[in-house]
């Protein structure tokens, strides 16, 4: 497998998904082409099939609830289109190495201010998720159980405590960052190579072509 950088993989995935999202409803042929691209994408990334299927299955249930009231033809198109989008995104996600949120998020085309928040959130997220897990673990070890009222109180307290704790934590982490020379922007280097830019342009043009073609009257 060709080694593609994570931000680049993300950009490619996003381009295709946006192309699919904007297709004309009912353009089965073009959806089929996109479907083939999606399959190729997930095979190429070697997404783990089992997990992928489980995931898509879970999504299918939810989606069909939304789409089914609208008649078979329409519903199945909507469903298939959503599934193809999910297939692409999940292939990307499931092949993401651990702790690469940050790196992946750097690939998002966002304004600088927002990019910064997104990156920091990605960072704190991992810290906080670990913290939530540990809080719960500790609560369980001390026998968390009892009436609904007590549970509700305990969990509200835990969310509250989590907030204060994260705030305190954020202040310390922020201090630790300042001490190490942080001045309002994370050191990032996600400059894409010319080759990546070329491929991205090709993908964008292809997707644009397919999507516009789906509105044409070919029959």
């Amino acid at each position: 497998m060709l080694k593609l950088s994570i931000p680049f993989r993300l950009r490619l995935s996003l381009t295709i998904v946006i192309g699919i999202g904007f297709m004309k409803t009912g353009a089965w042929l073009w959806l089929g082409i996109y479907g083939a691209i999606a399959l190729f994408w997930s095979l190429w990334l070697r997404a783990p099939l089992r997990t992928l299927l489980q995931l898509l299955g879970a999504e299918l249930i939810f989606l069909s609830l939304l789409a089914l009231p609208q008649g078979w033809e329409r519903a199945s198109f909507l469903l298939l289109r959503s599934l193809i989008c999910l297939l692409i995104m999940n292939s990307f996600l499931l092949t993401l190495p651990p702790h690469s949120f940050g790196i992946a998020l750097k690939g998002l085309p966002l304004p600088a201010g927002l990019q910064e928040i997104v990156l920091l959130a990605g960072q704190y997220l991992e810290i906080l998720l670990a913290e939530v897990t540990r809080m719960k673990r500790s609560a369980q070890l001390r026998g968390l159980s009892g009436t609904v009222g007590w549970l509700r109180y305990a969990s509200a307290s835990m969310i509250g405590a989590l907030y204060l704790r994260s705030l305190d934590r954020a202040e310390r982490v922020h201090a630790a960052m300042m001490i190490r020379g942080y001045k309002g922007s994370l050191p990032t280097d996600s400059k894409s190579t010319p080759k990546e830019r070329l491929w991205l342009t090709v993908t964008i043009l292809t997707a644009a072509g397919l999507t516009i073609a789906s509105y044409g009257n070919w029959a």
Binding site: I20, Q54, Q70, L78, F101, G113, Y124, L125, R152, L167
Partner: protein, 308 residues
């Protein structure tokens, strides 16, 4: 209520996308001025917090459990709806990109509904409500709880309208279904927001906004009646078909919970409810909590200081 890819027509997706982008741009400007260099870490943390807090499940009533969405809470603790808009937008961006929860093309709409309509409706309701309830800081949790509940419902109405304009789901199906389920989610949201804020009022009052002057006397019944009738009409429009059928079909297992328990790269966090309560629901419990909700509102009216 995260709209997946492919459910919005291009015009709707683009229009909401542009609207959201514009608001984010304004929000970035506003918060940079007010929070300075600290903005990014504080925002980043609040965002992550909303995310993490969504993983602590809560028994609500009658066997339902819910979790926080967090828009109203974020705007109260950050003290600014602009900052909250940024935080929530970030949550949706991360959810759609890293958790495949909510579509990429629907991102604009999702931000528009929950990060914009949801937050601003809550924010606009918050202060009048707090004043209506007597204005003291101790009333903040109740006011914020009610505002949070209503803001979730408002967001779901937008969502239904967008789906309808897109021609995906006709309005007469979408509206009752979305509103019905989101009244329930909203109740949970309100309880949690209120609960967390009452805790914060107790231990860190300095983090929260202070007293609000009380409303003009004659305004009290007017605002009260408007709010109550608003709530009642929502119930009316959704009962019986919407609420009933949606409740049955979904079992109130709301979408976000599903996505996070899915085997995404984060599956190893093993995020589950605090207690493994079955989420299937008795309609009676739901009704019960709806009544409690109304009652709490009424009682709050009665107990508020006679004059201030």
């Amino acid at each position: 209520m995260h709209i997946p890819d492919g459910f919005l027509s291009p015009p709707v997706a683009i229009a909401t996308g542009i609207a959201s982008a514009a608001v984010i741009a304004v929000a970035l400007n506003r918060t940079r001025a007010s929070l300075g260099l600290r903005q990014a870490p504080v925002m980043g943390l609040t965002t992550a917090f909303v995310f993490a807090a969504q993983m602590i499940n809560f028994p609500v009533a009658g066997g339902t459990s819910g979790h926080l969405l967090g828009g109203a809470l974020a705007s109260v603790v950050l003290g600014s709806p602009w900052a909250a808009t940024l935080a929530m937008s970030t949550v949706f961006i991360i959810q759609s990109v890293l958790f495949a929860d909510g579509g990429i093309t629907a991102l604009g709409a999702n931000i528009f509904n929950m990060g914009l309509v949801g937050i601003w409706v809550g924010w606009w309701l918050l202060q009048p409500l707090q004043r209506l309830l007597g204005g003291s800081r101790n009333r903040l949790p109740l006011a914020a709880g009610i505002a949070a509940a209503l803001s979730v419902v408002a967001a779901s109405i937008c969502c239904a309208i967008e789906l309808a304009i897109s021609g995906t789901v006709p309005l007469n199906i979408a509206l009752p279904a979305m509103v019905g389920i989101h009244i329930l989610i909203g109740i949970g949201e309100g309880l949690i927001t209120g609960g967390v804020l009452s805790y914060l009022v107790k231990v860190r009052p300095d983090l929260l906004p202070g007293e609000q002057p009380q409303l003009q006397k004659w305004l009290v019944p007017v605002v009260g009646v408007l709010l109550i009738s608003g709530v009642l009409s929502l119930f009316a429009s959704s009962w019986p078909d919407g609420l009933d059928s949606v409740a049955e079909k979904y079992g109130f297992k709301d979408k976000e919970a599903v996505a996070i328990q899915n085997p995404t790269p984060f599956a190893d966090y093993g995020v589950k409810g605090l207690e493994e309560q079955p989420i299937g629901t008795s309609i009676a419990g739901v009704l019960g909590s709806a009544v409690c909700f109304g009652a709490a509102f009424g009682i709050a009216q009665l107990v508020k200081p006679k004059d201030a």
